[in-house]
Amino acid sequence: MTSRAQSQYLRIFDNSGTYTRWQSYYINQTVSWDSGSWEYHPFTANGVVGGAGSGNDITIEIPATNEAVTAFTAALNNNRLCEIRMYEFDSLIGQSAPPAGQTLIGSFTGEVIRISGSFVSWTITIGSSLAPVGAQVPPRKFTNLLIGSPIKL
C-alpha cells in the first residue's frame, strides 16, 4: 500500500432492523458500500477496538445537528445498538468512492450509553449497559405473587 488512509463508518440499528448509515470520509457524498448507502455526516471515533477487562467503551465526537440529536437520543432512549467500523485503504485509489478491496481493521458494536457535550458538539459513548454498581444477580427475587405471605417459623 503506497498511501494509507482510514475511514470510519457508523450504523445505528433501530427496532425494525433498518438503520442510520453515516460515513465521515467522503465529504458531502453518499457512497455505496457493503450493500448500503452511507450518507456523509462528520464524526470522529476514537479507535479502541477491544481489550481485556470491562468498560472498553469508545467515544464519538459529532456535531449536534438535528439529525445527530434525533438519532442518538432515540438510540439512548431505546437501547439501540451502534456499530463503528474502521477501514484501511490505499488513498490513491479510494478518494472518490470506497475501493472494493479496502480492509476492515476494526469494528465495535455497543449500545449508546452516554451522551454529553455542548450545544454544538456532542460526545457519544458506545459501550455496554452492564452497570458496574447495583445488584443484578440472581435475577429474580421472592415476591408475594410467587409465594404469597411466607411461613414464619
Binding site: 470522529t44 477491544g50 481489550g51 481485556a52 469508545i58 435475577p139 411466607p150 414464619k152 417459623l153
Partner: protein, 842 residues
Amino acid sequence: MSIVVRDPLELLPYLTGVITTPKEELAARGTQQLDVRQRSIAIGEPIPIVFCRRTNDNGGVWVSPGASEGRFENDNNNDLTAYYQLVLSEGDLPQLPLNDLYQGPCKVGNYVQTYNRRAGAWLPGAFIDPLDSLVDTVQFSFDAPGTANPTWYNATPVTYGFGFTRWEFNYNGNKHYYPGSLSPGPGGPVLQTRKVTAETFQLAEVPVHCGTSGTYANLTTLSFDWIYGNGDQRWDRQIHAFVREGMQVTRILDSALGSSNNVVDLALYLIRQSSRLPENMLDIAAFTTAANFTNTNSFFYNGEFKESTNLEDWLQDISTKFLLRVSDNLGKKAFRPLLPINNDYTIKTTAISAVFTFTENHILPNGFQISYIPLSERKPICALMLWRQQPDSDVGIVRSSEIRFTGEAATGPYEQYDLSQFCTTENHAIKVGAYYVARRKYITHTLRIRVRPDVFNSTLILGDIVRVRLQRETDVDIIDYHDYYYQVERINKSITGVIELDLMHFPVDDQNRSLLALAVVEATGTGYSLPTGRNDFSCNVNNDADAIGDVGGNLDLPASGNFQTNLTAGSEGNPNQAINNPGYIPNYGQITGGTGPEDEPVDGDTLTAGGVCPGGYIEWYRCPKDAGVFSAGAIPPTCEKVLEGSEEFDYTVTTADIDYEIVGIGRCPDPSTPSGYGDAFVIDTSKPVEPDILSYEYVRWTGDLIYEGVATNYTSSWTNLSGFNSSDYLTIGALSNCSFISNVGFIAPNTDSRFSSVPAIGPVAWRAEVSVTTSGNGPLVGEVALGGLGSNGNALNTCAVIGPSVKFVIFSSSPKTYSVSGVWEFSNDASTVLVDWEGRTA
C-alpha cells in the same frame, strides 16, 4: 484525532485479572449446617439458582431450601404431622431421588416435587388439638413399653352394678380391661396401658403464621410431610436435598436442554436473564471456546447461586476461578482462557510462537511505556485454596489445600481463595491456586507501545502472543535488548493510523513454553478423600433411589393486580408555549360558547377562546359587523377593547355587545421580549351578538319607511313573546307584486329587469331591514310593495300598506330606492325599551 489514553498502565494487571488478591478472608462459604431449625423464606431474598451436574461421581450440591408454607396437625395420640412447601431453585430441576432427601441428617419424609406450581395438595395452616377431652382417660397400646412413638387407643370407663368401675377397650371385636387382663387376646397382645394426664401430651409449639400460596412461576418446588410422635421435637428440623442435576438450561456445548456444570452456561444464563446486554453484544464464539476450555480441563461449577451481587463483579470474580478472564472484543462481552490452549482446548505447554515481532522500526517516538508489578503483588505466597469435597448424597466437606513453590512461603504469607461454593474437584482448586502463585512469581511487568501501522493492522487480535525486541544502546561496546513475549490485552486503533497496544508480560522458559501453563499443568491434587466422620446411619428411613413423584397444583392463586402497579408512559413533547422564534405557527383556535340557533353569541353567554398557549395573554375586542377581516397588527379603530389579561380565556357577552362581533387576540409567552409575550395573532371572530330573545316579554319593530329618499317614522305595536319558542320569529317581508290591495307573489332577486336590487324572499327570521332599487331599464309598469311585519313568515298584506311597508308604482326611468329600515326593540313591560337589535340579514 488524538490518542485517547483510557486507563493508567498500572491498572492493567488488575483489569485483566492477573492480580486478584482477595479483599477479605472469611469462613468457607460452602460450609453447611445440618441439624438446624427449618429456614423460612423472606420476601425479597434472591431466588437461588441450583446449578450443577454430577459427572463421574463428582459434583452435585447439597442445598437447604427455605420454606414458604407449612401445615401442622395432631391426632388423638398427639402425633404431629408436619408439612412444608419448599422452593428448591429457579428453573426446572429434574426429579430428585427419594434417598437424596433429608431432614436434618436423616433420610426421612414423604416428598413430591414439581415445577412452575405448588407441590402437593395440602392446605397451609396450624391445626393443633389441645386434646383436653382425653385427660383423665385410659389408653392402651399393642406396642411394647419403650417403643418409640407407640400407638395409643382410647378406652371407655364401665361401672358395674356393685359400684366397681374399670376401663374397657375393644379392639377387633375383643374386649380388654384395665385394671384387668392385658393379654392375651384375639386382637393381639395388649402390652401397655397408661392413664392420660395433662402432662401426657407435649403439644408442639408450631407456627401460627403458616403462609399463603403463590404462583411459584418458573420455580421448582418440593413438598415434605412426616409424622412425629408425641413429644418429638424434630418436626422443625431443616430439610436438605442433594441435587445431582441442577437447573436445566440450553447448554452451549451441545445445544441440549439439561443440567449443566459449565460456568459459561451459568454466565450466559445470568447475562440474558438480567437483560443488561443484548444478544448481539455477546461473543458466542469466544464463550464457546471458554466453555470447551473449562469442560476439557474439568473446571466445573457445582453450586447454589443465591447471594445477591453485581453481575459485572461476579463475572470478573468467577472468571479467574476458572482460569478465564472477562474480555470485551469489538464491543462484545466474552470469556477467554487465561492460558494458551491447544486446538483440543487443553492447556498448551509446548513452545509458543509470536504472531508478530515489534522492533524499533515500529515504535513511534515516546511510544514505549513500561510498568512493573509492585512488590506487594510479587512476593511469594502460599495459596490456601478452599474447595468442597462432595460425597455422594451427603453434605459437602470443605477442604483446604495449600499451594506453594518448593522452598517458598513455607510459613506464609497465606492468601485464601474460597472456591468451596462451587468447586468440587481437587484438581480444579489446585490448578487455580497454582496459577495464583505462578503469576506472582513470573509475570513481572506490563507494556504499552505506540506503533505505526503495518501488516498486522488487520490481523492482530486480542490474546495474540507478540514479541517486542528493542535494542538498547547505552554503552559503546555493549548492546542490550528488551526482548520479551507479551499477550495483547488491548488494541487502540486511531483514525490517524497510530496503533496503541497494551501488552501483558508472557513469561516463557528457554524452550518458549509458557511458565504459567507449565506450573498449572504440573499442579495436581493428592486425590485424598477426607472421611465424613459419620458412622451412624440408623435414622435413615428412605433408601429408595426412585425419583419422587410430580404432584402439585395451585391453591388460591393471588391476583397479580394486587402486587403490581403498571404506569402508563406519557409521550414527551416540546413545551406547548410559543416563543418568539422564526417559523413559529400559533395553534389557532376558535371562539366557542355561543348559544344562538347557529351558535351566535347571545347576551349572557360566556365565550371561550381556544388554542392559546398556557400563560398566554388575551385581548377581547368588540367590533362592528362591517369591520371586515383584519390582522392582529391592524385592529380597526372602530373596535373597542373590552377585556384583556393573562389567561383571560373567557368573556361574558352583555347587551352592549349586541350587533357587534367579538374578536379574540392572543399572544404567547416569550421571555425574550420586554412585555414577556410574543407577537399577537387573531384567535377567532364570533358571529354578531344577538339578544337572548326569549328572555324578554315583548318585541316591536321601529324604524323608517323611506320613499325615494323621504323617510316616515313607523313603530309597530308590541308583540307578546310569551308564546314564542326558539323557532318562532318576526320578520320584515320581501318585495311583492300587487294587484290593487292584494299581494300576488314575491319577487326574487335577479328575476325582474325592473329592479337592480331586490331583497331575498326569505322569509329571513328577525330581518329588520329591506331595500329595493329600481333599474330604470325595465318596463315602467306595475305596482309593488316592500316590507310588512310578518310572524313566522313574510307578511301577505303589504299591498294593503298595513304595518311597516312601502308601496310604489314603477314609472320613472331613473333608478329609485325604497326601504323599510329599522330595528327590533325588546321590553319586559311593553313600555321601556331594554335592547335594540338590528336583526339578521340572512
